[in-house]
């Protein structure tokens, strides 16, 4: 008996998007990546862009994004995804091209590629997962690590005198003439997930309308790296991350262009 036969007609109230395949995800329980993967898959499907999407995965926890979402993927070197996306979009202008990057990849080693791709007004979208830590390598300090936050490479807490300040790349992106839509979202509640999905959809649509570059930051948890239960991590994020990384649209010039 197939899954379709088991589920009676009209009984489905919720299902996984078809683009999200059955490969078991390697993400830790409680991680935000799974939710964002689902949203990205849903939006591509709803836009009817399955056969026209070229995605670029980063180095970091989402390196294997290509195993889970059934579109064409290029796996970039650490931080270089926006360079791959720039060339790909220019060579295939009618394709939906986006990168999916974490804070270490985007805000640290790939700062140059990120800022310049955004400011060249490349018609791409950058999905930016900011969990303030290097997850894949085992919880080291990221450029977005909050002051006082403890990681494997700032075990006594991030200090300005030793490590400088956390970087707000999204605020920088909003000042760039090349960007069209810059927003900061989260996926910790149903309402937040719905808002994040709308943001991703808007960004993808603007990129297809040739309105310039788009950055969707998702403030996320890394309960493994933060050494908290998923529930506690969500709470900690609301109290600490949102106080520094304010949620909401920072820029939206899509209607003017």
């Amino acid at each position: 008996m197939t899954r379709e036969e088991i589920i009676e007609k009209g009984q489905v109230v919720y299902k996984k998007p078809t683009l999200l395949n059955d490969t078991p995800m390697h993400y830790c329980p409680g991680c935000s990546h799974g939710v964002v993967h689902k949203l990205v898959s849903e939006v591509i499907e709803e836009m009817g862009m399955t056969d026209k999407t070229i995605a670029i995965s980063p180095v970091g926890c989402a390196v294997f994004a290509y195993k889970y979402i059934d579109v064409d993927w290029q796996e970039a070197a650490h931080g270089r995804a926006p360079a791959l996306a720039s060339a790909t979009k220019r060579l295939w202008p009618d394709r939906l091209v986006f990168t999916y990057q974490g804070d270490g990849d985007l805000a640290c080693i790939g700062t140059a590629e990120t800022i310049h791709a955004l400011n060249r007004a490349e018609n791409i979208t950058i999905i930016f997962i900011n969990n303030a830590i290097y997850g894949m390598t085992g919880g080291q300090m990221a450029p977005t690590t909050l002051l006082g936050m403890k990681t494997a490479t700032c075990p006594y807490g991030r200090e300005v005198s030793l490590h400088g300040y956390p970087l707000k790349v999204t605020e920088i992106a909003a000042t760039l003439d090349g960007t069209c839509y810059v927003t900061r979202q989260a996926v910790h509640t149903v309402a937040a997930i719905n808002r994040a999905k709308k943001a991703i959809r808007k960004a993808f649509e603007y990129s297809m309308q040739g309105k310039g570059s788009n950055l969707v930051e998702i403030v996320s948890t890394c309960n493994s790296g933060w050494k908290m239960s998923p529930e506690k991590a969500n709470k900690w994020m609301e109290e600490n991350m949102f106080a520094f990384y304010h949620l909401g649209d920072l820029k939206d010039t899509g209607a003017d262009k």
């Binding site: 290509y66 064409d72 993927w73 070197a77 270089r80 060339a87 790909t88 295939w92 394709r95 590629e113």
Partner: protein, 351 residues
């Protein structure tokens, strides 16, 4: 025209889809010529000045992942920055063209010509077991001709190819017959020719993934072995070289690129003095003409490796010769091009 300009014109004419580069002396004319020619208005070729060589090579990585004919050019310090992307492309088995118009090093070095990046070009350069297909032009004509050849080889083997020139070849002006116009492939042709490319899941096919990553050691060894088998096939089929006055030669010079031009003049001078010397010019530096050098070792009394560096290709010559005859090196450093007379003196002194 200049060698660098010939590269640009040949790229437009051979159906190149995209050029991504960053200015650096002595090769900036490639990007300048492309910008002046505006091929995006004629052939539809994309030309983009990147924010760094790191970015330009990764643009090439992205473009090559979609099956397009894409290229970059740079000079030694810039090519050092590109090594990461080149290694990824070799690992992901992507066809692309990298032009290196060498200048002297190490470090910022000099802007004068040099051949001191032979090792970097031929022995991997970046991390991991890999090779580029390396073509060494010795004239402006070959700068033009090797663009299409490099793309052809790159796509035949799904491997990045490099044109390894030097500042002299890049900057010198010579008459050149440009190749005839070849149209860029249509998207349909690319999708058919490159079923592996990330073009979007056209026709609902399975997703294509371009990656150099495989965490399972057993799988990674299989991939490595497949790539190595490809390299053996390239070594078997794609060696290119030129022979000059070797029939009666008692001594041989092995030299590539601008050093080979100097060698020809030196041979003329030496022969006028009764020294029978000829030239073997590797055109492909990788694959290296190992068999041809080995054959040479059975015929001549000694081999001089003439390079504008401190002695790099000489190691490959010695590996080929296996001690049968003396192999010596002569070169100048710091961006100085050897004088034909001092090469003749070196021949007399070293043998």
């Amino acid at each position: 025209m200049k060698g660098n300009e010939a590269i640009a014109h040949a790229a437009i004419r051979c159906g190149c889809d995209g050029y991504f580069g960053y200015p650096i002396t002595p090769q900036s004319e490639v990007l300048e010529t492309l910008a002046a020619e505006k091929p995006w208005e004629t052939t539809g070729m994309v030309v983009l000045q990147a924010e760094s060589e790191v970015s330009s090579i990764n643009m090439v990585y992205g473009g090559a992942s979609t099956g397009k004919r894409v290229m970059t050019s740079s000079s030694s310090p810039g090519v050092s920055l590109m090594q990461e992307g080149i290694s990824y492309m070799a690992g992901a088995e992507l066809p692309a063209l990298i032009v290196d118009v060498m200048r002297g090093g190490p470090g910022l070095g000099t802007i004068q010509p040099s051949q001191s990046d032979y090792f970097q070009a031929c022995k991997g350069g970046g991390h991991g077991d890999y090779h580029l297909i390396v073509l060494a032009p010795a004239s402006v004509q070959e700068m033009a001709d090797f663009v299409d050849l490099a793309f052809t080889l790159a796509f035949r083997y799904r491997n990045p190819a490099m044109i390894l020139a030097d500042g002299a070849i890049g900057q010198m002006m010579e008459k050149v017959v440009l190749p005839p116009f070849k149209p860029r492939r249509t998207e349909e042709e690319i999708i058919k020719e490159c079923p592996w490319a990330t073009t979007g899941r056209v026709g609902g096919r399975k997703p294509n993934i371009i990656t150099s990553l495989e965490l399972r050691s057993e799988e990674m060894e299989i991939i490595n072995n497949r790539i190595q088998a490809k390299y053996r096939e390239i070594e078997d089929k794609e060696v290119r070289f030129e022979e000059y006055l070797l029939d009666d030669a008692e001594y041989a010079i092995v030299a590539f690129g601008s050093a080979a031009r100097i060698a020809k003049k030196s041979i003329e001078i030496a022969r006028s003095q009764g020294i029978k010397v000829g030239l073997l010019r590797p055109i492909t530096l990788w694959p290296f003409p190992t068999r041809e050098v080995r054959k040479l070792a059975g015929k001549v009394k000694g081999i001089l490796s003439l390079e504008i560096n401190a002695g790099q290709m000489v190691e490959d010559i010695r590996l080929a010769v296996e001690g049968k005859v003396p192999v010596r090196h002569f070169g100048r450093l710091g961006g100085i091009i050897p004088d034909p007379d001092e090469v003749v003196d070196a021949l007399k002194r070293l043998f």
